[in-house]
Amino acid sequence: MNEFLDPLVLARWQFGLTTLYHFIFVPLTIGLSLLVAILQTVWVRTGKVKYLKLTRLFGKIFLINFAMGIVTGIVQEFQFGMNWSNYSRFVGDIFGAPLAMEGLIAFFFEATFIGLWIFGWDKLPKKIHLMTIWFTWLGTTISAYFILAANAFMQNPQGFEINAEKGRAELVDIGAVLTNPIALGQFPHTIFAAVMFGGTVIVAVAAWHLKRNQYVDEMRTALRFGAWANILAFVGVGLTGHTLGMTMTQAQPMKMAAAEALYNNASGADASFSLFSLGTPDGAHEIFSVRIPYLLSFLSNGTFDGSVEGIRDLQSTYEQMYCSGADTLLTCPSDGQFAPVIWITYWSFRWMIGLGFLAALVSAVGLWITRKNTELPNWVWKVAIWTAPIPMLGSLIGWIFTEMGRQPWIVFGVMTTEQGVSPGVPGWAVLVSLVVFTLVYGALAVVEFKLIFKAAKEGLPEIEHLPGEGGEGTGEPDQQQLATVY
C-alpha cells in the first residue's frame, strides 16, 4: 500500500493533532474557571469592585476558550467511531460507559451553568450567580475525571473480561473502572497542571499591564494571585506526579523504561536518572550523559534501592506473553516491537518535568521581587509575560508522553493500536479529514490567540452598574440594556 495513504498512520496523526489541540483549551478552562470563581467569591464577600473587574476580564478570556473546548470536544468523541471503529466495537461496552456518564452527569451540567453565568449577571441574585460559576467549575472537573478514567482504561485496563463469543471486552466492575489507580493519579496531576496554566495566564496579563503602568493596583493583586496559584498548584503537580510515576511503573513498566531509555534492568545506584544524554536516536548507545544516581529508582519505586526493568528484558517477556499464544491477532504487533519510540518518550518526559519546574521557579522569584511596592525594571515584566505558554507546553508534552508511551497498544495488553483502526475507511478519506482539521484548527488558532490578546490588552472593563442590584423587572419586556450579549 502507498505509505502516504496508510489509514493507520493518518488516523494516528489526526488523533494526535485533534487531541493536543483540544488539550490547549480544556486545561485553561479547568484552571481559569476555578481562579475566576475565587475572584468572584472575593468580590461577593468583600464588595471591592477591583475583584469584580478582574472577574470580568479573566472571565472573558475563559469564555473565548470555552467555545473552542466545546467544538473541538465534539470531534474527539466522533473520531473514535470514524477512525477507530474496530477499537470502538471491541471496547464500547466498557469504554463508552464513562464517556456517556461524563455527558449525562457532567457535561450537561457544565454547559447549562456556563450559559447562566455568562448571561445571568443582571438576571440572577448575586449569590445565585456566584453559584453558577462554581457549578461550572464543578462540571468541568467531574467531566475531566470521567474522561481520564476512560483514558486510564487504555493505559491500565481494569474491571472487564473478554467475551470470546461476541469478540469484545465487556464491563464487569464499574467501580474498578472508576477507581483505576492510573485515573486516581492522573486526575489530580492534570487538574493541578491546569491550575498552573490558568495562574500563569493571569500572571502574564497582569505583567503586560504593569509594564505599561496601567491599572497598577488591580494588576498587582492579579499578578500575585496568579503566582500563588501557580506555585501551590506546582506542589500538587509534583507530589501527584511522583505517585503517578510509581503507579505507571507498576502498570506500564515499558513506559517508564522508555522514559529513561533504560535498556537493561537496573537497581540502586545504577538506576540513575539522566538529566541529559546524547546517544544514537534509538537510545541504544549512549555517548554522553549527566546522571543522578538512585533517582530513577526513587521515581519508580519510592525507594532508593529498588530495581527498574529495562526495555530489552521487557521486550522478551512481552514476546512470550503476547505473541506465542493461539489467539495473538489483537495482542501481537505486526513488527513484534513492544517499545514505543524511545527518543519521544525520553525527551517528552524530561521536558514535561523541566517546564513545570521553570514555571514555578519564575512565579516564586516573581512573588519575592514583587513583595514590596517598588519600581521594577522592564525585563521582569517581559519574563513574566513569556511565562504564559510554559505550563501549556508542559501539559501538552505530558500528554505526548502519556499517549506515545502507551504504544504499540491502544489498550495495554489487550489490543494493539493497528488493530483498532477502522476497516473500510479509505486512506484518502482520512487524509482529507486530516487536512481539513489541520487547516480549520490552524485558522482558528490564529483567530483564537488574536482574540485572547485583544481581550487581555483591553484591560479592565468599566463597571457602569453593579450586577445583581436592580434590573430584574416585572416579567414584561423591559428596555434595559443587557450586561452581556454577543
Partner: protein, 342 residues
C-alpha cells in the same frame, strides 16, 4: 421491556432533545440573512439563542456518547461508514460554534460578515446532512455482517445521496428553519417579530408539503411491517401538530406555534424510529444483513448501569435546563443591545 429496547428509546429521547432544541437554534442561524436587515437585527437574532445554543448542542454530544455506550456496533458502523458526511457536520458545527463567540469581538464589517456566513452555512449543513443520514438508515444502506463480528458499511457518500435521502434532508432543513422562525417571533418584539411571523407563514406551508411527502413515502415503504400502525400514528400526530403550529402562528399565538413545531419534530423522528425498529440500520443487501438492536447492543451489565445513570440524571438535566429557559424568558428588542460593541 427489554433493556435494549429501553435504550433504543433513551437514545431516541436524546436525539429528539437534540433536534428539537438545537433545531430551533439552527433555524435562527438560517434566518440570519432573511430576517437581519442590519447588524443590530442580527445581534438580536443571535442573542435570542445566546444563553442556550451550547447547552442545546450538548444533547448531540450526550446522544453520541450514549450511542457509544449502549450500541457500540451502531456507533462504530455508522460513524465510520458515513465518514465524509460526518466530517462536513463536524466542520460546520465547529465554525458555527466559534462564530457566535467571535463575531462581535473583532473590528470591522468584513470580520463580522465572515462569521455571519459561517453561522448561516453552519446552520444549514448539519440539519440537511442529519436528515439525509436518518432517511438512509430507514431506507436501508449497503451494510453486511462480517465473520469477525459486527457490520461494515460498503457504500460511499454518493450512496447516501438518493431521492428519499435528499427528501429527508430538505424535510429536516425546512422543519428546523420553520421552528427557528417561530422561536424568533416568540423571543423578540417589534419589527423583527413581525418579519419572522410573516416568513414563518410561507416557510410553514413548504414544510407541511415536504413533510407530508416524506412521511407518506416512509409509510408506503413500510407497508406490511410490524410497526406500521405506530408509524402511521406518529406521522399523523406530527402532521397535525405541524398544521396546528401554522394556524397558531398565523393567529399570533407564538407560544403554541413553538410547542406545535416541537411536537411535530419529535413525532416525525419517532415515526422514523418506529420504521427502524427492531433494527438500528436496515441493510439494502437483504434483511439478514440488517443490524438489529439486540445485535448491536452492549452487555446487560453495561445497559443496567447506564439505565440507572440515565434515570437519575435525565430528570435533573431537564429541571435545570428548564430553569435556564425560565431565567431567560424575556423577549429581546433592538434597544437592549448595547450600542458600542465589546
Amino acid at each position: 421491556m427489554e433493556l435494549t429496547t429501553v435504550w433504543f428509546l433513551i437514545v431516541g429521547v436524546l436525539l429528539i432533545g437534540y433536534f428539537v432544541l438545537d433545531g430551533f437554534d439552527f433555524g435562527v442561524g438560517i434566518s440570519l440573512p432573511f430576517l437581519g436587515k442590519d447588524d443590530t437585527d442580527r445581534r438580536v437574532l443571535i442573542n435570542t439563542i445566546g444563553p442556550v445554543w451550547d447547552l442545546n448542542e450538548t444533547w448531540l454530544i450526550v446522544a453520541g456518547a450514549s450511542l457509544f455506550a449502549a450500541f457500540p456496533e451502531w456507533y462504530a458502523t455508522m460513524f465510520s461508514g458515513f465518514y465524509l458526511a460526518l466530517l462536513l457536520i463536524l466542520v460546520a458545527l465547529i465554525l458555527r460554534g466559534v462564530s457566535f463567540e467571535y463575531r462581535h469581538q473583532g473590528k470591522g464589517q468584513k470580520w463580522t460578515r465572515w462569521f455571519d456566513q459561517f453561522i448561516f452555512w453552519g446552520s444549514v449543513l448539519p440539519p440537511v446532512l442529519w436528515g439525509v443520514a436518518f432517511a438512509n438508515l430507514v431506507q436501508g444502506v449497503p451494510i453486511r455482517t462480517v465473520e469477525t463480528g459486527g457490520w461494515i458499511y460498503e457504500g460511499t457518500l454518493l450512496t447516501l445521496l438518493n431521492p428519499y435521502g435528499l427528501l429527508g434532508g430538505i424535510c429536516m432543513l425546512l422543519l428546523v428553519f420553520n421552528h427557528g422562525l417561530v422561536f424568533v417571533s416568540l423571543k423578540t418584539v417589534g419589527e423583527i417579530r413581525d418579519r419572522a411571523r410573516a416568513l414563518a407563514k410561507k416557510v410553514g406551508i413548504a414544510t407541511i408539503v415536504v413533510g407530508a411527502a416524506f412521511l407518506v413515502w416512509t409509510i408506503i415503504m413500510h407497508m406490511g411491517s410490524d410497526t406500521i400502525l405506530l408509524i402511521v400514528v406518529c406521522a399523523a400526530i406530527a402532521a397535525v401538530a405541524l398544521i396546528a403550529a401554522w394556524v397558531a402562528n398565523a393567529a399570533g399565538r407564538e407560544g403554541w406555534a413553538f410547542a406545535g413545531n416541537a411536537v411535530a419534530i419529535a413525532f416525525a423522528l419517532l415515526a422514523i424510529f418506529m420504521a427502524l425498529f427492531p433494527n438500528l440500520m436496515h441493510s439494502s443487501l437483504g434483511a439478514a444483513e440488517s443490524m438489529s438492536i439486540e445485535g448491536a447492543a452492549s452487555s446487560q451489565k453495561t445497559l443496567e448501569l447506564m439505565t440507572w445513570v440515565a434515570a437519575i440524571c435525565l430528570p435533573l438535566v431537564l429541571a435545570y435546563q428548564a430553569w435556564t429557559y425560565w431565567i431567560f424568558r424575556k423577549r429581546l428588542s433592538r434597544e437592549m443591545i448595547p450600542a458600542a460593541a465589546h
